[in-house]
């Protein structure tokens, strides 16, 4: 029943055909459905993906995110030149690390006279504003890395220093002395170097080749400040 009317133009002429002329050649038979939503396959795929993550259980979501974070931790601990941290960046890992570090670095505020150590908010602010500053600097120097990718990398590369903090706390439980200090110094220096190597492996490729040193120096200062806070931490 959906029979098309004849086209007014002669099909064989070489004159330019009017705009809608070709449509009259369509013959739509009855049993082929012409109604329905016209969607692009990719778009419908995305929609389907979204609704499926909304409907899944909370445990699934959390496990998926934790696995992603854990995978990135592995990439930081064994730094190779790879794109994983950059490609699917997330800020969960940096948040977990920053909160852990800030909690461990916090002095007990009972004895307020000796209150000179970093408080939670201080460490938090240092880490995040330091990372923001380094990102802005690398962007201004001509790097082609996005803001959040850089934050992600810098945050994840705090992992070695968090491990150093844990080790230092454990070492501080033992008997004090110059050996104690030497052990802590050695651990912090090694972890500091590890952080710098890890972040260089990820960030260096995004900088123009002759300016890598200019972009890495603030990273060095940033991790130096954090290492110094870890090394001079003494629980009262």
């Amino acid at each position: 029943m959906a029979k098309a009317a004849e086209s007014s133009g002669d099909p064989g002429t070489t004159s330019p055909r009017p705009l809608f002329a070709g449509l009259s050649d369509i013959s739509i038979s009855q049993d082929i459905p012409v109604e329905g939503e016209i969607t692009i396959p990719m778009r419908s795929h995305i929609r389907e993906f979204d609704s499926s993550t909304l409907n899944e259980s909370v445990q699934n979501t959390i496990m998926r995110d934790l696995k992603a974070v854990g995978k990135k931790f592995m990439h930081v601990l064994y730094p190779r030149k790879s794109n994983t941290l950059l490609r699917d960046w997330d800020l969960w890992g940096p948040l977990i690390l920053c909160v852990t570090l800030a909690l461990m670095l916090q002095r007990s505020s009972v004895d307020s006279e000796k209150d000179g150590g970093p408080q939670f908010a201080e460490v938090f602010v240092i880490v995040w504003f330091g990372a923001v500053t380094i990102t802005l600097n690398s962007k201004l120097l001509g790097g082609n890395i996005s803001f959040f990718q850089s934050l992600c990398v810098l945050g994840y590369c705090i992992l070695p220093l968090t491990v150093a903090m844990l080790v230092c706390r454990l070492v501080l439980l033992a008997e004090p002395g110059p050996i104690n200090f030497m052990v802590r110094l050695f651990v912090v220096i090694v972890m500091f170097a590890w952080s710098i190597v890890a972040s260089t492996a990820f960030l260096a490729d995004s900088q123009p080749p002759n300016r890598k040193a200019l972009a890495i120096y603030p990273v060095f200062l940033f991790y130096f400040v954090i290492s110094w806070m870890i090394l001079t931490f003494t629980p009262q």
């Binding site: 029979k3 012409v34 201004l140 200062l221 001079t232």
Partner: protein, 347 residues
């Protein structure tokens, strides 16, 4: 079903001038990121829809009787499809327009590209400028060249912050109601920005030829001397050594800045005023940095607490000239002994 595809394709490609602007809108002309979600094929689809609608209306005229029942269905579906498509397009266009406006406002106010030319440096240039900041040049008849960049000064200020932190930690500076980090950052950035502005203001009064950017760069590079002196003397605590370095290194970097300013100012009074102020501030700042963070400083923020807090107590500490490792271990020993004593007492 190749037939509908071909004319649709032909129609799309032949759609040039009429639909060209429409397609551009859809694909978001201003943004640098091409969002795949917004690359909608609805231009072609709405075309097909319209063609379908035309066709259905034509069919209604041909087949009146059977088309009555089906006309309602067909028209209903066609209209619904058409309206749905149209509303989606309208929504899409509104989203694009809103996004464009927001990104324009953002790029106007938060454009870091304004600062981009000041960070256009090479490592070799930074190194040479750092070394030159310690070498005064005695050419005063012709304005000396000042590199207008901000990377070097900014990095030097941050380095000074790090060194200051190190110094405060090793001397057990205690700041009440404040934080070490906050104090260090506030001091260094406050000096750099504040004194630069003040000297720029004086330069404006004294008719000197220097811009704000140049002043920031000049003073920033002048902090290189401070960094060196403090780095050495926070670790080796001999007062005589500090005074020697203060005069030598501090003096050199001050002389360099003074020479540059003199070359850009006319008139002896103006030169004296400008350069005297800068020299005084620069040298005194180094003195302040060394001595203020070597003692226990119960900050002025104390007085904000109220009357029930005891007034400022200065407890000068004699720091022997030993290596920092032993010093820190002594601190650790003391702290641990104290902690042990407290625990033993509480039991």
């Amino acid at each position: 079903m190749a037939t509908p595809a071909a004319p649709a394709g032909g129609a799309r490609s032949g759609a040039g001038p009429e639909w060209g602007g429409f397609e551009e809108n859809i694909q978001g002309g201003g943004s640098a990121v091409i969002d795949m979600e917004n690359m909608d094929d609805t231009s072609g689809s709405s075309f097909e829809d319209m063609g379908e609608l035309h066709q259905r209306l034509r069919e209604e005229e041909v087949d009146a009787e059977a088309a009555v029942a089906e006309e309602e269905d067909g028209e209903f579906l066609g209209m619904k499809g058409f309206k749905g498509q149209l509303s989606r397009q309208v929504a899409d266009q509104m989203w694009q327009a809103g996004k464009r406006q927001a990104s324009r406002a953002f790029s106007l106010y938060a454009n870091i590209d304004i600062l981009r030319p000041y960070f256009d440096v090479e490592p070799a240039q930074v190194r040479s400028r750092l070394l030159e900041s310690m070498i005064p040049i005695k050419m005063v008849n012709f304005p000396q060249k000042i590199a207008g960049e901000l990377y070097g000064p900014l990095m030097l200020v941050f380095t000074l912050v790090a060194i200051l932190l190190h110094g405060m930690k090793t001397s057990d500076t205690i700041i009440r109601e404040g934080t070490l980090m906050g104090t260090a950052i506030g001091t260094c950035f406050g000096y750099w920005l504040g004194v630069s502005s003040f000297i720029y203001f004086l330069a404006y009064l004294c008719n000197a030829q220097i811009t704000m950017l140049q002043m920031l760069a000049l003073l920033g590079y002048g902090l290189f001397g401070h960094c060196i002196v403090l780095f050495i003397t926070y670790n080796i605590h001999l007062h005589a050594l500090f005074f020697l370095f203060w005069l030598l290194v501090g003096g050199l970097s001050t002389l360099r800045m003074v020479a540059v300013l003199v070359s850009r100012t006319v008139g002896p009074t103006q030169r004296l005023l400008l350069c005297g102020t800068l020299a005084a501030l620069h040298m005194v700042f180094l003195l302040y940095l060394h001595f203020a963070y070597h003692k226990v400083v119960e900050g002025i923020l104390d007085t904000l607490e109220g009357p029930n807090i005891p007034p400022m107590q200065r407890v000068p500490r004699d720091i022997p000239a030993v290596l920092p490792a032993a010093r820190l271990s002594a601190t650790v020993l003391n702290a641990t002994a104290k902690a042990v004593a407290v625990t033993l007492q509480s039991h």
